[in-house]
Protein backbone atom coordinates (compact mmCIF):
# COMPACT_ATOMS: atom_id res chain seq x y z
CA UNK A 1 0.00 0.00 0.00
CA UNK A 2 1.27 3.43 -0.96
CA UNK A 3 0.24 6.67 0.70
CA UNK A 4 0.88 10.38 0.35
CA UNK A 5 -0.07 13.45 2.37
CA UNK A 6 -0.07 17.03 1.17
CA UNK A 7 -0.84 20.28 2.98
CA UNK A 8 -1.45 23.36 0.89
CA UNK A 9 -1.62 26.72 2.67
CA UNK A 10 -4.04 29.29 1.26
CA UNK A 11 -4.19 32.97 2.19
CA UNK A 12 -7.45 32.55 4.09
CA UNK A 13 -9.74 29.80 5.33
CA UNK A 14 -12.35 31.01 2.83
CA UNK A 15 -9.97 30.41 -0.08
CA UNK A 16 -9.08 26.96 1.22
CA UNK A 17 -12.78 26.08 1.41
CA UNK A 18 -13.39 27.39 -2.10
CA UNK A 19 -10.58 25.16 -3.35
CA UNK A 20 -12.04 22.18 -1.48
CA UNK A 21 -15.52 22.72 -2.91
CA UNK A 22 -14.14 23.16 -6.43
CA UNK A 23 -12.52 19.74 -6.61
CA UNK A 24 -14.38 17.49 -4.18
CA UNK A 25 -17.31 16.61 -6.47
CA UNK A 26 -15.35 14.49 -8.92
CA UNK A 27 -14.18 11.15 -7.65
CA UNK A 28 -11.96 9.38 -10.12
CA UNK A 29 -13.41 6.05 -11.16
CA UNK A 30 -10.79 3.33 -10.83
CA UNK A 31 -11.83 -0.08 -11.99
CA UNK A 32 -10.12 -3.03 -10.37
CA UNK A 33 -7.62 -1.23 -8.15
CA UNK A 34 -8.05 0.45 -4.80
CA UNK A 35 -7.46 4.16 -4.35
CA UNK A 36 -8.78 6.45 -1.67
CA UNK A 37 -8.51 10.22 -1.58
CA UNK A 38 -9.47 12.33 1.40
CA UNK A 39 -9.66 16.13 1.30
CA UNK A 40 -10.31 18.42 4.23
CA UNK A 41 -9.75 22.00 5.36
CA UNK A 42 -8.15 23.03 8.63
CA UNK A 43 -7.99 26.81 9.07
CA UNK A 44 -6.21 28.00 5.91
CA UNK A 45 -4.76 24.57 5.14
CA UNK A 46 -6.10 22.28 2.47
CA UNK A 47 -5.16 18.75 3.47
CA UNK A 48 -5.15 15.90 1.01
CA UNK A 49 -4.22 12.29 1.67
CA UNK A 50 -4.07 9.37 -0.70
CA UNK A 51 -3.91 5.66 -0.18
CA UNK A 52 -3.49 3.34 -3.14
CA UNK A 53 -2.51 -0.18 -4.06
CA UNK A 54 -0.38 0.94 -6.99
CA UNK A 55 2.10 3.80 -7.00
CA UNK A 56 1.25 4.61 -10.61
CA UNK A 57 -2.42 5.18 -9.84
CA UNK A 58 -1.51 7.34 -6.85
CA UNK A 59 0.78 9.43 -9.01
CA UNK A 60 -1.85 10.10 -11.72
CA UNK A 61 -4.50 10.95 -9.14
CA UNK A 62 -2.16 13.31 -7.28
CA UNK A 63 -0.93 14.91 -10.47
CA UNK A 64 -4.40 15.62 -11.79
CA UNK A 65 -5.58 17.03 -8.46
CA UNK A 66 -2.54 19.29 -8.12
CA UNK A 67 -3.02 20.59 -11.67
CA UNK A 68 -6.63 21.46 -10.83
CA UNK A 69 -5.60 23.13 -7.57
CA UNK A 70 -3.13 25.31 -9.47
CA UNK A 71 -6.04 26.33 -11.71
CA UNK A 72 -8.22 27.14 -8.68
CA UNK A 73 -5.41 29.20 -7.15
CA UNK A 74 -5.02 31.21 -10.36
CA UNK A 75 -8.78 31.70 -10.53
CA UNK A 76 -8.83 33.01 -6.95
CA UNK A 77 -5.87 35.33 -7.61
CA UNK A 78 -7.40 36.83 -10.72
CA UNK A 79 -11.12 36.90 -9.96
CA UNK A 80 -11.61 37.29 -6.20
CA UNK A 81 -13.06 40.68 -5.31
CA UNK A 82 -13.69 41.56 -8.98
CA UNK A 83 -16.62 43.94 -9.37
Amino acid sequence: MYSMNVEIPFETERHAKIALNSVIQDEEPRAGTHIERKISVERNLLKVSWEAEEARILRTSAQSLLQLLVLVTQTIEQFDGLE
Partner: protein, 348 residues
Protein backbone atom coordinates in the same frame (compact mmCIF):
# COMPACT_ATOMS: atom_id res chain seq x y z
CA UNK B 1 -33.36 41.00 -16.28
CA UNK B 2 -31.36 37.81 -15.88
CA UNK B 3 -27.65 37.54 -16.75
CA UNK B 4 -25.97 34.14 -16.98
CA UNK B 5 -22.33 33.20 -17.59
CA UNK B 6 -21.84 29.81 -19.29
CA UNK B 7 -18.70 27.65 -19.42
CA UNK B 8 -18.25 25.01 -22.11
CA UNK B 9 -15.32 22.62 -22.39
CA UNK B 10 -16.54 19.09 -23.03
CA UNK B 11 -14.20 18.36 -25.95
CA UNK B 12 -11.40 20.33 -27.66
CA UNK B 13 -13.04 23.78 -27.51
CA UNK B 14 -13.15 26.03 -24.48
CA UNK B 15 -15.68 28.85 -24.48
CA UNK B 16 -17.32 31.32 -22.12
CA UNK B 17 -20.54 33.09 -23.05
CA UNK B 18 -22.59 35.80 -21.37
CA UNK B 19 -26.33 35.92 -22.03
CA UNK B 20 -28.78 38.60 -20.88
CA UNK B 21 -32.41 37.54 -21.28
CA UNK B 22 -31.72 35.76 -24.57
CA UNK B 23 -29.35 38.42 -25.88
CA UNK B 24 -25.80 37.18 -26.52
CA UNK B 25 -23.47 39.75 -24.98
CA UNK B 26 -20.22 37.87 -25.61
CA UNK B 27 -19.11 34.41 -26.66
CA UNK B 28 -15.32 34.00 -27.03
CA UNK B 29 -13.85 30.56 -27.67
CA UNK B 30 -10.47 28.90 -28.14
CA UNK B 31 -9.96 25.61 -29.97
CA UNK B 32 -7.24 23.05 -29.33
CA UNK B 33 -5.99 21.86 -32.73
CA UNK B 34 -3.88 18.72 -33.04
CA UNK B 35 -1.33 18.14 -35.86
CA UNK B 36 -2.45 16.51 -39.17
CA UNK B 37 -2.80 12.75 -38.96
CA UNK B 38 -3.55 12.83 -35.24
CA UNK B 39 -6.66 13.26 -33.13
CA UNK B 40 -6.76 15.18 -29.87
CA UNK B 41 -6.09 13.29 -26.66
CA UNK B 42 -8.32 14.17 -23.69
CA UNK B 43 -5.39 15.08 -21.35
CA UNK B 44 -4.02 17.49 -23.99
CA UNK B 45 -7.41 19.12 -24.47
CA UNK B 46 -7.76 19.42 -20.68
CA UNK B 47 -4.34 21.10 -20.45
CA UNK B 48 -5.38 23.48 -23.22
CA UNK B 49 -8.55 24.38 -21.30
CA UNK B 50 -6.58 25.03 -18.09
CA UNK B 51 -4.20 27.28 -19.99
CA UNK B 52 -6.79 29.41 -21.78
CA UNK B 53 -9.75 29.35 -19.34
CA UNK B 54 -9.00 32.50 -17.36
CA UNK B 55 -8.04 34.55 -20.42
CA UNK B 56 -11.27 33.57 -22.22
CA UNK B 57 -13.32 34.35 -19.11
CA UNK B 58 -11.76 37.82 -18.92
CA UNK B 59 -12.47 38.40 -22.61
CA UNK B 60 -16.09 37.34 -22.15
CA UNK B 61 -16.62 39.70 -19.20
CA UNK B 62 -14.87 42.66 -20.84
CA UNK B 63 -16.80 42.31 -24.08
CA UNK B 64 -20.15 41.83 -22.33
CA UNK B 65 -19.52 44.89 -20.11
CA UNK B 66 -21.33 43.35 -17.13
CA UNK B 67 -20.52 43.86 -13.48
CA UNK B 68 -20.10 40.85 -11.24
CA UNK B 69 -23.00 42.12 -9.09
CA UNK B 70 -25.35 41.98 -12.11
CA UNK B 71 -24.70 38.29 -12.82
CA UNK B 72 -27.47 35.96 -11.62
CA UNK B 73 -25.93 32.52 -12.08
CA UNK B 74 -22.96 30.55 -13.42
CA UNK B 75 -23.56 27.53 -15.67
CA UNK B 76 -21.18 24.84 -16.86
CA UNK B 77 -21.33 21.69 -18.99
CA UNK B 78 -22.12 18.74 -16.73
CA UNK B 79 -21.86 16.26 -19.62
CA UNK B 80 -21.77 14.37 -21.90
CA UNK B 81 -18.16 14.70 -22.98
CA UNK B 82 -14.61 13.68 -22.19
CA UNK B 83 -13.78 13.39 -18.49
CA UNK B 84 -10.58 15.40 -18.21
CA UNK B 85 -11.72 18.45 -20.25
CA UNK B 86 -15.09 18.45 -18.46
CA UNK B 87 -13.43 18.46 -15.03
CA UNK B 88 -11.01 21.27 -15.89
CA UNK B 89 -13.93 23.41 -17.05
CA UNK B 90 -16.17 22.55 -14.11
CA UNK B 91 -13.41 23.41 -11.61
CA UNK B 92 -13.15 26.99 -12.91
CA UNK B 93 -16.95 27.38 -12.91
CA UNK B 94 -17.20 26.08 -9.33
CA UNK B 95 -14.43 28.39 -8.09
CA UNK B 96 -16.00 31.41 -9.83
CA UNK B 97 -19.49 30.63 -8.47
CA UNK B 98 -18.09 30.50 -4.94
CA UNK B 99 -15.87 33.59 -5.27
CA UNK B 100 -18.78 35.66 -6.58
CA UNK B 101 -21.40 33.93 -4.39
CA UNK B 102 -23.61 32.94 -7.35
CA UNK B 103 -25.72 29.83 -7.83
CA UNK B 104 -24.12 27.17 -10.04
CA UNK B 105 -26.11 25.08 -12.53
CA UNK B 106 -24.95 22.01 -14.46
CA UNK B 107 -26.20 21.92 -18.06
CA UNK B 108 -26.59 19.03 -20.49
CA UNK B 109 -24.38 19.78 -23.49
CA UNK B 110 -26.91 18.51 -26.07
CA UNK B 111 -29.72 20.57 -24.54
CA UNK B 112 -27.35 23.55 -24.72
CA UNK B 113 -27.04 23.09 -28.49
CA UNK B 114 -30.80 22.75 -28.87
CA UNK B 115 -31.71 25.83 -26.81
CA UNK B 116 -29.03 27.92 -28.54
CA UNK B 117 -30.43 26.81 -31.91
CA UNK B 118 -33.95 27.78 -30.89
CA UNK B 119 -32.73 31.15 -29.63
CA UNK B 120 -30.67 32.07 -32.70
CA UNK B 121 -33.05 30.80 -35.41
CA UNK B 122 -36.30 31.63 -33.53
CA UNK B 123 -37.52 28.09 -34.26
CA UNK B 124 -40.45 27.37 -31.96
CA UNK B 125 -40.86 23.62 -32.00
CA UNK B 126 -38.39 22.14 -34.49
CA UNK B 127 -37.36 18.60 -35.27
CA UNK B 128 -33.67 18.69 -34.40
CA UNK B 129 -30.67 17.08 -36.07
CA UNK B 130 -27.75 17.20 -33.65
CA UNK B 131 -24.52 16.28 -35.40
CA UNK B 132 -21.04 16.71 -33.94
CA UNK B 133 -17.79 14.94 -33.20
CA UNK B 134 -19.28 13.11 -30.25
CA UNK B 135 -23.01 12.93 -30.98
CA UNK B 136 -25.44 12.07 -33.76
CA UNK B 137 -29.10 12.31 -32.79
CA UNK B 138 -32.45 13.18 -34.28
CA UNK B 139 -34.47 14.78 -31.50
CA UNK B 140 -37.91 16.29 -31.04
CA UNK B 141 -39.64 17.79 -28.03
CA UNK B 142 -42.57 16.06 -26.40
CA UNK B 143 -43.95 16.31 -22.89
CA UNK B 144 -41.10 17.98 -20.99
CA UNK B 145 -38.50 15.85 -22.73
CA UNK B 146 -36.22 16.07 -25.74
CA UNK B 147 -36.95 12.64 -27.13
CA UNK B 148 -34.38 10.83 -29.26
CA UNK B 149 -36.02 9.50 -32.43
CA UNK B 150 -32.89 8.13 -34.02
CA UNK B 151 -29.21 8.08 -33.21
CA UNK B 152 -25.89 6.51 -34.11
CA UNK B 153 -25.33 2.93 -33.05
CA UNK B 154 -21.56 3.32 -32.90
CA UNK B 155 -19.39 6.39 -33.58
CA UNK B 156 -20.64 9.93 -34.17
CA UNK B 157 -20.74 11.29 -37.72
CA UNK B 158 -18.16 13.97 -36.82
CA UNK B 159 -15.91 11.27 -35.43
CA UNK B 160 -16.22 9.38 -38.73
CA UNK B 161 -15.24 12.53 -40.69
CA UNK B 162 -12.43 13.48 -38.26
CA UNK B 163 -10.92 10.03 -38.41
CA UNK B 164 -11.14 9.89 -42.17
CA UNK B 165 -9.33 13.25 -42.28
CA UNK B 166 -6.60 11.62 -40.22
CA UNK B 167 -6.35 8.69 -42.66
CA UNK B 168 -5.80 10.97 -45.64
CA UNK B 169 -3.63 13.30 -43.47
CA UNK B 170 -5.45 16.56 -44.01
CA UNK B 171 -5.17 19.50 -41.62
CA UNK B 172 -7.25 19.79 -38.43
CA UNK B 173 -7.19 23.58 -38.78
CA UNK B 174 -9.78 25.11 -38.50
CA UNK B 175 -11.47 21.71 -38.29
CA UNK B 176 -11.15 18.38 -40.14
CA UNK B 177 -14.77 18.56 -41.30
CA UNK B 178 -14.30 21.98 -42.88
CA UNK B 179 -11.28 20.75 -44.84
CA UNK B 180 -13.11 17.62 -46.03
CA UNK B 181 -15.87 19.91 -47.28
CA UNK B 182 -13.34 21.90 -49.33
CA UNK B 183 -11.87 18.72 -50.88
CA UNK B 184 -15.39 17.42 -51.58
CA UNK B 185 -16.18 20.50 -53.68
CA UNK B 186 -13.52 19.29 -56.15
CA UNK B 187 -14.92 15.75 -56.25
CA UNK B 188 -16.18 14.57 -59.65
CA UNK B 189 -16.82 10.84 -59.45
CA UNK B 190 -19.21 9.29 -56.96
CA UNK B 191 -17.78 6.16 -55.36
CA UNK B 192 -20.40 3.75 -54.01
CA UNK B 193 -20.09 3.33 -50.22
CA UNK B 194 -22.13 1.30 -47.73
CA UNK B 195 -25.34 3.04 -46.62
CA UNK B 196 -26.25 1.91 -43.12
CA UNK B 197 -29.62 2.77 -41.62
CA UNK B 198 -31.32 0.39 -39.20
CA UNK B 199 -34.84 1.56 -38.45
CA UNK B 200 -34.33 5.11 -37.21
CA UNK B 201 -30.72 4.52 -36.18
CA UNK B 202 -27.53 4.96 -38.16
CA UNK B 203 -24.14 3.30 -38.17
CA UNK B 204 -20.94 4.99 -39.34
CA UNK B 205 -18.06 2.78 -38.25
CA UNK B 206 -18.41 0.31 -41.13
CA UNK B 207 -18.44 3.14 -43.65
CA UNK B 208 -15.27 4.53 -42.05
CA UNK B 209 -13.51 1.15 -42.32
CA UNK B 210 -14.60 0.90 -45.94
CA UNK B 211 -13.32 4.34 -47.02
CA UNK B 212 -10.15 3.83 -45.00
CA UNK B 213 -9.44 0.64 -46.89
CA UNK B 214 -10.16 2.34 -50.23
CA UNK B 215 -7.84 5.25 -49.36
CA UNK B 216 -5.02 2.98 -48.22
CA UNK B 217 -5.07 0.53 -51.13
CA UNK B 218 -5.39 2.98 -54.02
CA UNK B 219 -2.29 3.28 -56.19
CA UNK B 220 -1.65 5.80 -58.93
CA UNK B 221 0.16 8.94 -60.01
CA UNK B 222 0.26 11.94 -57.71
CA UNK B 223 -2.43 13.63 -59.78
CA UNK B 224 -4.70 10.59 -59.73
CA UNK B 225 -4.26 10.26 -55.99
CA UNK B 226 -5.17 13.91 -55.40
CA UNK B 227 -8.35 13.53 -57.44
CA UNK B 228 -9.15 10.23 -55.72
CA UNK B 229 -8.91 12.03 -52.36
CA UNK B 230 -11.40 14.64 -53.59
CA UNK B 231 -13.75 11.96 -54.90
CA UNK B 232 -13.61 10.07 -51.61
CA UNK B 233 -14.38 13.18 -49.57
CA UNK B 234 -17.26 13.98 -51.91
CA UNK B 235 -18.68 10.45 -51.84
CA UNK B 236 -18.31 10.15 -48.07
CA UNK B 237 -20.16 13.43 -47.50
CA UNK B 238 -22.96 12.54 -49.93
CA UNK B 239 -23.48 9.12 -48.36
CA UNK B 240 -23.35 10.21 -44.71
CA UNK B 241 -25.53 13.28 -45.21
CA UNK B 242 -28.12 11.30 -47.21
CA UNK B 243 -28.45 9.01 -44.20
CA UNK B 244 -28.96 11.98 -41.87
CA UNK B 245 -31.55 13.55 -44.16
CA UNK B 246 -33.45 10.27 -44.49
CA UNK B 247 -33.80 9.77 -40.74
CA UNK B 248 -34.64 13.44 -40.17
CA UNK B 249 -37.31 13.28 -42.88
CA UNK B 250 -38.95 10.31 -41.23
CA UNK B 251 -38.89 12.00 -37.82
CA UNK B 252 -40.36 15.13 -39.42
CA UNK B 253 -43.19 13.11 -40.97
CA UNK B 254 -43.87 11.54 -37.58
CA UNK B 255 -43.87 14.73 -35.49
CA UNK B 256 -45.63 16.81 -38.12
CA UNK B 257 -43.47 19.81 -37.17
CA UNK B 258 -42.78 22.47 -39.77
CA UNK B 259 -39.20 23.28 -38.84
CA UNK B 260 -35.92 21.40 -38.99
CA UNK B 261 -33.08 22.70 -36.85
CA UNK B 262 -29.50 21.58 -37.41
CA UNK B 263 -27.13 22.00 -34.46
CA UNK B 264 -23.64 20.77 -33.57
CA UNK B 265 -20.30 21.24 -35.31
CA UNK B 266 -21.13 19.20 -38.43
CA UNK B 267 -24.13 21.52 -38.84
CA UNK B 268 -21.76 24.18 -40.26
CA UNK B 269 -21.36 22.06 -43.39
CA UNK B 270 -23.01 23.94 -46.26
CA UNK B 271 -23.55 20.77 -48.31
CA UNK B 272 -25.49 19.18 -45.43
CA UNK B 273 -27.56 22.34 -45.09
CA UNK B 274 -28.31 22.33 -48.84
CA UNK B 275 -29.39 18.66 -48.82
CA UNK B 276 -31.60 19.23 -45.79
CA UNK B 277 -33.06 22.33 -47.38
CA UNK B 278 -34.10 20.37 -50.48
CA UNK B 279 -35.90 17.83 -48.29
CA UNK B 280 -37.58 20.59 -46.25
CA UNK B 281 -38.77 22.36 -49.38
CA UNK B 282 -40.45 19.20 -50.64
CA UNK B 283 -42.27 18.81 -47.34
CA UNK B 284 -43.16 22.47 -46.90
CA UNK B 285 -40.96 22.83 -43.85
CA UNK B 286 -38.47 25.55 -42.93
CA UNK B 287 -34.78 24.79 -42.42
CA UNK B 288 -33.19 26.56 -39.45
CA UNK B 289 -29.43 26.46 -39.73
CA UNK B 290 -26.67 28.53 -38.16
CA UNK B 291 -23.08 29.48 -38.88
CA UNK B 292 -19.97 28.28 -37.06
CA UNK B 293 -20.26 30.84 -34.24
CA UNK B 294 -23.23 29.03 -32.75
CA UNK B 295 -23.11 25.54 -34.33
CA UNK B 296 -19.72 24.71 -32.88
CA UNK B 297 -19.47 24.27 -29.11
CA UNK B 298 -19.58 27.63 -27.35
CA UNK B 299 -20.16 29.11 -23.92
CA UNK B 300 -23.33 31.03 -24.78
CA UNK B 301 -25.24 27.83 -25.52
CA UNK B 302 -24.56 26.60 -21.99
CA UNK B 303 -25.61 30.01 -20.63
CA UNK B 304 -28.81 29.92 -22.70
CA UNK B 305 -29.89 26.42 -21.62
CA UNK B 306 -28.93 27.43 -18.07
CA UNK B 307 -31.06 30.57 -18.38
CA UNK B 308 -34.10 28.48 -19.39
CA UNK B 309 -33.63 26.21 -16.37
CA UNK B 310 -32.82 29.12 -14.02
CA UNK B 311 -35.98 31.01 -15.01
CA UNK B 312 -38.01 27.84 -14.43
CA UNK B 313 -36.67 27.76 -10.87
CA UNK B 314 -34.02 25.06 -11.21
CA UNK B 315 -31.21 25.36 -8.61
CA UNK B 316 -28.39 22.88 -8.00
CA UNK B 317 -26.53 22.33 -4.73
CA UNK B 318 -22.78 22.96 -5.12
CA UNK B 319 -22.10 19.46 -3.81
CA UNK B 320 -24.23 18.04 -6.66
CA UNK B 321 -22.33 19.95 -9.34
CA UNK B 322 -20.29 17.01 -10.56
CA UNK B 323 -19.51 16.03 -14.13
CA UNK B 324 -20.56 12.91 -15.99
CA UNK B 325 -19.19 11.54 -19.24
CA UNK B 326 -22.54 9.92 -20.08
CA UNK B 327 -25.62 12.12 -19.92
CA UNK B 328 -28.34 11.45 -22.46
CA UNK B 329 -30.43 14.23 -23.97
CA UNK B 330 -33.65 12.54 -22.85
CA UNK B 331 -32.54 12.41 -19.19
CA UNK B 332 -33.16 16.15 -18.80
CA UNK B 333 -36.45 17.36 -17.34
CA UNK B 334 -37.30 20.13 -19.79
CA UNK B 335 -39.61 21.94 -17.38
CA UNK B 336 -39.21 25.32 -19.08
CA UNK B 337 -41.16 24.19 -22.15
CA UNK B 338 -44.92 23.79 -21.95
CA UNK B 339 -46.99 21.15 -23.67
CA UNK B 340 -49.28 23.52 -25.54
CA UNK B 341 -51.39 20.80 -27.13
CA UNK B 342 -52.22 19.24 -23.78
CA UNK B 343 -53.11 22.59 -22.24
CA UNK B 344 -55.44 23.34 -25.14
CA UNK B 345 -57.03 19.93 -24.80
CA UNK B 346 -57.50 20.57 -21.08
CA UNK B 347 -55.40 17.56 -20.08
CA UNK B 348 -53.18 19.58 -17.73
Amino acid sequence: MVIIVGFEGSANKFGVGVIKDGEILSNPRDTYISPPGTGFRPPDAARHHRNVALRILKEALTEAKVKVSEIDAICYTKGPGMGAPLVSTAVVARAIAQLWKKPLLGVNHCVGHIEMGRLVTKADNPTILYVSGGNTQVVAYSKQCYRIFGETLDIAIGSCLDRFARVIKISNDPSPGYNIEQFAKKGKKFIMLPYVIKGMDMSFSGILSHVTKLAKTKMGSEEEMAQFKNDLCYSLQETLFAMLVEVTERALAHTGSTEVLIVGGVGCNIRLQKMMEAMCEERGARLCAMDDRYCIDNGAMIAQAGLCAFNAGVRDKLSDCSITQRFRTDEVDVIWRIDYKRIKAGVI
